[in-house]
């Protein structure tokens, strides 16, 4: 993880004619840094007053729409949601995911805009014009340590609101609504969601963006530099590795139910990771942030036993995430008609291959 620096450019910013264009501009600045927005993670918003065709003035939250990536987002990628309705929704005691998705979509001022981010209500609740949210690698690393919350407090003092892990969506918005009055004060400039990511706020686009950079930089300084092996190592010495790979791909495709592409990484960085002595303890817990799970599965496969991996995944599915007893019976996902995704691994760590 390298040193963070602001990519703000006065000339580029001056070329933005509206606040929404500026919003798209600083969103792209965030999106350019992979260490901030791993695999499309993160979202941004701006609150604007808009006059409708019949002359009504309304407060509108322009929040990143689904299907748009921060790296390339344009003004059309932001969904215009009516603030007043979002704030009313935030006061409900409960709402299903499907209801929330429908309410968000039905209360936009442009029916052709993309579906708003599931974090739209959360963005609406934050009392700042500009809100930036990323899944910065280093912040997630800090929150996912045994004393994660204490570390975050040590790094940021009380300048940030800190929210324990809550599932994204309406429940998270409710948790923030509850915690905000207790923790926020005039000096609050951002928020950390444990196991999820970080928010920065500002009264200008530049302030919010540069606060994000500064906050992540603080976390990087706390984490300190880490030596990273570099350079290519080349492919495995085993002469029959292409056949081993082809066997592995066939086994994975068979359990996935469709042919899969398998790519092989034998660079120094990947090999050093795959050959760590504590590989099992380190790799068999879960992904860096939960929204990666539909791409990565919960854990990577260690070695090449695809059948064993698939069996373990089926057990994980049947127990709705390795739950037991009452927890299994009472969990929100206990519905019997849930359909299992294919049980094939998406990442394999093979120490003697890569």
């Amino acid at each position: 993880m390298g040193a963070m620096q602001s990519l703000w450019n006065d000339a580029e910013a001056a070329a933005c004619r509206t606040d929404l264009e500026l919003r798209a501009y600083t969103s792209r600045l965030l999106g350019q840094d992979r260490s901030l927005v791993l695999h499309g993670g993160g979202n941004t918003s701006v609150k604007l007053s808009v006059t409708s065709i019949v002359g009504d003035e309304e407060d509108i939250l322009f929040v990143k729409g689904s299907g748009w990536d921060l790296e390339t987002i344009q003004p059309a990628g932001f969904s215009p949601c009516r603030m007043a309705h979002l704030l009313k929704l935030s006061r409900l005691d409960s709402m299903s995911d499907a209801q929330m998705a429908a309410e968000l979509k039905n209360n936009m001022t442009n029916a052709g805009a993309p579906a708003p981010s599931v974090e739209a209500i959360l963005h609406a609740l934050l009392p700042f014009k500009w809100v930036d949210h990323t899944h910065a690698d280093v912040v997630v690393a800090l929150t996912n340590t045994p004393d994660g919350e204490a570390r975050i407090r040590a790094v940021y003092g009380n300048s940030l609101v800190i929210i324990p892990y809550v599932m994204p969506g309406f429940e998270l918005a409710k948790a923030v609504a509850g915690a905000w009055p207790k923790q926020a004060h005039a000096g609050t400039i951002g928020m950390v969601l444990m196991g999820h990511g970080i928010f920065s706020f500002g009264n200008t686009a530049r302030e919010s963006y540069e606060r994000m950079i500064a906050l992540v930089e603080l976390a990087e300084r706390h984490a300190g530099p880490r030596a990273t092996p570099t350079g290519p190592v080349g492919v495995s010495a085993a002469g029959d590795w292409p056949q081993i790979m082809a066997d592995l791909r066939k086994a994975i495709s068979d359990v996935a139910g469709a042919p899969m592409i398998v790519s092989y990484h034998a660079d120094a960085r990947s090999l050093a990771f795959a050959r760590r002595r504590d590989l099992e303890a380190l790799s068999q817990q879960g992904p860096a942030t939960p929204d990666h799970i539909i791409r990565t599965k919960r854990v990577p496969m260690l070695g090449r036993d695809v059948a064993a991996y698939a069996a373990a995944y089926e057990r994980y599915f049947d127990t709705r995430g390795l739950r037991e007893g009452a927890a299994l019976a009472g969990c929100r996902a206990a519905t019997p008609d849930l359909v299992m995704l294919d049980p094939a691994p998406r990442v394999a760590l093979i120490p003697n291959l890569a």
């Binding site: 995911d97 790979m245 066939k250 495709s253 790519s263 929100r332």
Partner: protein
Amino acid sequence: MDILETADALGGWVALPAPQLFDVEYWDLEQAKLRRAGQPPVLAGEVALVTGAASGIGKACVEALLKRGAAVVGVDLQPLVDGRWSSDPACFGAQCDITDEAAMRDVLARAVARFGGLDMLVLNAGIFPKSARIDALSTELWQKVMRVNVDANMALMRDAHPLLARSPKGGRVVVIGSKNVPAPGPGAAAYSASKAALTQLARIAALEWGSDRIRVNVIHPNAVFDTGLWTEDVLTPCQSHWVKPAAMSSISISFRKTWRRTKPVSWVRRSPSRVRSSIRKSRR
């Protein structure tokens, strides 16, 4: 890896517990992201290698395969200059002489590193030398044509076999023969004999590899003029033999879904007007 190792260096990586992760994995709003992706195209997740991929029939095959969702390994003696070879993650291009067996084995290994295996082989690369009657045919020219059109394809089939035999849906080989196999012309002894030998090689492969779930087909293109084969040297003497090109229509290449069915695939064809304009061009 960065996140896990940074957390580990700070005293230990602790991920969310499995139940919370499960709830996100099977959260309706996450599942909706997967549903939005829709039905994958017919060759999604499959890998094809095309020789002679830079132009003509090979290039058309690459485009047809990509359109159907396959990842494509393109090999050509000429540089692969199309942008797709550097920018499309589904494309891997290698400039390589197919008669160099060691270099081709290296291409196969790199294809496996990139995509994990090989499902389809399109043996398209070939040469058609300047017309020469047998009484004036040099041994050198004969051997050169055999080396490219037969020997190199045998070696590639042999070296690709272990990969094709491990294809999840069964391997497929498409051999580009020639109309010269059933209907040869004077002056094309080396080319016609090489393509006939290649056709016979494919027949044997079909007999030997059926039990490995590898399907082998040969197609015999005719009157496909926009390829590298049709040099001025080749085109001019051929014109005198042409009677009237058959009526031909659109481009269609279809790889059949089940390996047991061995119906030949249809082939690239050109409209009569394109054929006539090609002839006119060559006369100028």
